[in-house]
Symmetry: C2
Subunit: 223 residues, 2 copies
DNA sequence: GGCAGTTTCTATACGCGTAAGGAAACTACC
DNA sequence: GGTAGTTTCCTTACGCGTATAGAAACTGCC
């Protein structure tokens, strides 16, 4: 009977002085304290007490670091919670939970544009969404497609809104939207001209849940 | 009776040697011939026969250049077309037209995350969508919110899909998705485990129009 | 002609992400 | 102990976007 493999025999090669956890943890601190704009590989290296290129043995590149940061964030904030018993409401609540968690930390926007399963720690919610859709009568296949539609809608909402907000922030010139509406020809675009005055208010309003409800209703009706 | 203002009197200051149109046009050529990855301010400057910083008098920064490029692209491809008479089908067709045009040039993804009105030249389609929703019985306000939901869904679909594709392209390691699914615990995530095998196929399928149809149906039912 | 005023272009420099290559620190085997 | 192999770390360097400062080329007014 030989030892299977978990022998704690030291690995060959130079022993590491920093760990992936330390990299991610320090990065999280920098982001939390000074914003994602201050997170550079060079800064991160000096904070850890190492050199920039040393980081690349623990993290493939900066993008992967950001993905790990998002995963870390999800692990800390996304916890299984009490969800409604009614399946449709369960879908809505799970999607809204993901949405609100992501919307609360707007720095991940670029990472967000990642994939449909953005984090292991969000899997619980994904499961709840797919499960709820199945309980509503969808086939598993259609439930997955429904989940994807919800994810597109959610990710799109966050990406569009936060990048628009960011541009407004570091940019004092008039919005592209404003330019469009001032030069609007009521003859060619009567509907838009009609709502031009309210547009700003309408877009400022948070209508994520309304759209989500409509999307889910449509998905269920189609299935 | 004095001349109103369109006197072609030369403006003061050093006469420009390059124009914004030339900048955008050359940028378009580079992108078309060698891809957006080859478009750098330095390369653009040498192609024009100028210096990098000279570009910044005609374009605020690279992001604005990309926005202009997108606008230019929209101007060339988005033309008013024959749309269905039925208002709901009109909404679907207009949204799909925007979607297909954008999906066909995946380099704009970051720019896409811009705003709800991404280009003057898409206004015609936006008008058609809002107008169609009103004709379906929505109030103008709800029609605008409906348009925004459609835009979120559309932009999200494109952003998510193209960045996922890009990552797969310049990355031979297993997908994050694959990693997640291999380590999936059927006890905790029965639904996901159930569809794990089909997931790859399901996500490869283009379900944009299905989701769009569901979303619009839900929007109309709610209004 | 000369002297503002205005606009455009150029030179230089900074910090960024990271590719390439070599030095350093360990294990395993002789 | 010596040598080979392996992993980690450091040094250097490249091209990127662009901030800053000043030179250059024009107009209008004296």
């Amino acid at each position: 009977m030989q030892q299977p493999s978990p022998a704690p025999r030291r690995a060959p090669g130079r022993p590491p002085r920093i760990s992936r956890e330390e990299v991610v943890g320090t990065a999280r601190r920098i982001v939390a304290e000074e914003g994602v704009g201050k997170l550079t590989m060079r800064r991160l290296a000096t904070d850890i007490g190492s050199t920039p290129m040393a980081l690349y043995h623990h993290v493939r590149n900066k993008e992967e670091l950001l993905v790990l940061l998002l995963d870390d964030y999800a692990a800390r904030t996304l916890r299984p919670v009490e969800l409604p018993a009614d399946p449709r409401e369960r879908v809505l609540a799970a999607a809204a939970a993901i949405h609100d968690a992501l919307a609360a930390c707007p720095w991940i926007v670029e990472v967000l544009a990642a994939d449909d399963l953005f984090s292991t720690h969000a899997l619980w919610f994904v499961e709840r969404i797919v499960d709820g859709l199945v309980d509503c009568g969808l086939t598993p296949e259609r439930a997955v497609q429904g989940y994807r539609a919800i994810w597109y809608y959610t990710a799109g909402e966050i990406v569009v809104r936060t990048t628009a907000a960011r541009r407004r922030a570091d940019d004092d010139r008039p919005t592209y939207r404003e330019q469009v509406f001032t030069g609007l020809d009521p003859a060619r675009h009567p509907r838009l001209a009609q709502v031009a005055d309210h547009w700003e208010d309408l877009t400022a309003r948070d209508t994520y849940r309304d759209g989500l409800r409509a999307l889910v209703a449509g998905l269920l009706a189609a299935g």
